[in-house]
């Protein structure tokens, strides 16, 4: 129908990738022809799960989904978009704190590279309380968090 391939970057640290992230991806599937899960690598930030393990985990979830691939990047997100010829950045929103933060980033990215558009999807209500930060905290206390993480990390 349309001749332009629609490619989105789904950027994040995914430390770890949660059922919340999974849900946003499932909601976004019909919207894009290709989605690149892009793990931002920031040497100044301390990892909880090693990068290798995160790549392996996320990749294992989408082996049967040719539309979705996993990659890492170290540049500014919009630079990575340019490199990958992605016109869209995909982000999930859980609450007003998320929204306030994401709004400024999206507006700034639009000013710096007008051809990039940030697309927001709202997390389903039942996952609104799931965050990588809380999950890391639970793991550090030895809590079983498998119900919040798809597949096996």
């Amino acid at each position: 129908m349309n001749s332009t391939k629609r490619t989105a970057i789904f950027p994040g640290s995914f430390d770890p990738f949660t059922i919340g992230h999974m849900s946003i991806l499932e909601q976004a599937m019909p919207l894009f022809d290709e989605i690149i899960i892009a793990i931002g690598v920031n040497s100044a930030k301390k990892d909880f799960f090693p990068l290798d393990r995160r790549i392996q985990h996320i990749t294992s979830l989408f082996t049967d989904t040719p539309k979705i691939s996993v990659d890492t990047y170290t540049s500014l997100t919009i630079e990575y978009c340019k490199k990958r010829k992605a016109q869209f950045i995909l982000r999930g929103l859980r609450n007003t704190t998320d929204f306030q933060f994401e709004k400024s980033i999206a507006q700034m990215n639009s000013k710096l590279l007008p051809e990039i558009e940030t697309i927001f999807l709202v997390t389903p209500p039942e996952f609104g309380h799931v965050s990588s930060t809380i999950i890391r905290d639970l793991i550090s206390y030895g809590t079983d968090v498998s119900e919040f993480i798809p597949g096996k990390i």
Copy 2:
């Protein structure tokens, strides 16, 4: 590239259609193959601009944009989506008040009709203060609001 036509509904009362609405549409253009600006007609709500004038105004803005059409509907938004075979609802977000309200509606729509996804775009910062409500108020005091309305209503 992809064989499925991506159709979005952009629902609202558009009383009147503003530069904020225009900006959301421009941002959404690359994302969809077809966008239907759907004016919700609610007999319980009192109009400021008559429906005919709103249809005429919005239609006049997109005569050279085949991808965009204008329609009216009286049913529930998701029922109208089904009727028009639209998989997506497009909404703009200006601030946390918008977000809080839109989030519940989007989550409810998802529960009622899971194949419909609501796509959110953030209004550019320079239009964050523009709302149909404030514009109606300004007009009622005789203020010139032409800078906030695209084309001529």
Copy 3:
């Protein structure tokens, strides 16, 4: 253990009573010895469901729960608390809009009658999008909303 009976008022218009209200009550059950679901009757506000039908619906849900009763009131909420010798007002919170509104009311009630305390519980994530307002809107369009209403209204 303690000699004082702890009685809470759960005030609202419950037009209609939803699975969100039900969930707040279930969460509050261990906290109180008696909970009075108090339907505020406000002649200035137009009802959607007639008062009789709301009383009948809510009563039918708690016939086997001696701790919970249903009543109506027309006075200020804190006056009704005094009359019923209830020391607590129970309220559910879904989001920041709820919180902002409820906070001022609770603080005002505390100033007017310091022996009354408002107790807040957070709605479970999966019901965060359910509101009587949205449900009334859905019903007015003929949508089946039975999944959001406990029992049969």
Copy 4:
């Protein structure tokens, strides 16, 4: 009247314990048979006041209140609740930032241990600006903060 003892944990770092904390406790007194002020000890977080001094300070405030005791814990909060046979977690809310943060934690705790309920009370308006963070900052500049701290730390 009721045969079950209602025990609440009031968790926090209380670094230092403020008039805001005191007010929440006073409001919560009629609601519970026992309240355990539980100082969370987190080796990863740097203390401002040494733990010993915080225990001593808080204990000194409640020597005549048999219902309230002071303890420390190093585990996940819900694990500590289980150990102490507490069914309730007590938290104070000052503003929407507090609420947003506390909501996710409470919902997560409910998922992990459904028999635990988090009870929220709103801080009285006159203490809405008091926070341990601001008080620590004031102390570090040599400001007299005795009006914001009950008793003597």
Copy 5:
């Protein structure tokens, strides 16, 4: 010192004028040479207290304060500012709901008349829960609200 007289409009419906309004005025006194309390008269909005009584009440509070006067206006606020040669609009902020609403109005006024600046002051914490809306509601139930209203209305 400076040769320009600084005049502010303090617009509102003041239905009724509360201790919150009074506090904002006291905080603003050192900032301006003249403050005009401007009661907006909107024929579409139903009054609770008649206009005459509101004028009388507010005037009685400032008979010994030559800097403060009371007036009514029916035009757009910025038009009234022009007429009165006021460069500033004074507004109080209690919470994020106030802020979100006032922000858009202030930004719109700035676009329409750049020489007008809106000045915001934060209500003291102890009055954060006081609003004319809640007070009207209390009065309609026969509650004594004299502690929330300065002087005698």
Copy 6:
């Protein structure tokens, strides 16, 4: 007209000073007789731009504006106000996150030193997404940020 000089402190770390800060100052110019841009020096916080360079940058922007001066301070902000005989603290607000944070600080400062008033101005919509934090992040990735910084840093 009035005999009292109105002096405001505009405190911040200004790391770096942005077009958002510039806009707040321009809006505040008619309100005050003197504005001191006060760079808070906090040994515990790591600078991005060295203090000298920030002083030089900001000073260079106001060489022709006698009303505005640049200074540094290491004490509590209200202590610095006392020392400089400033009655006002000037702050800009972009969004609800800013507001929530600033509100508590302003209320606390008012309690500690009642003769100091914090004056808030709202950032123009077109600069609502500009923050020193985002700009520092962009610079660290080698992005050209000159459009967000007035003059030359």
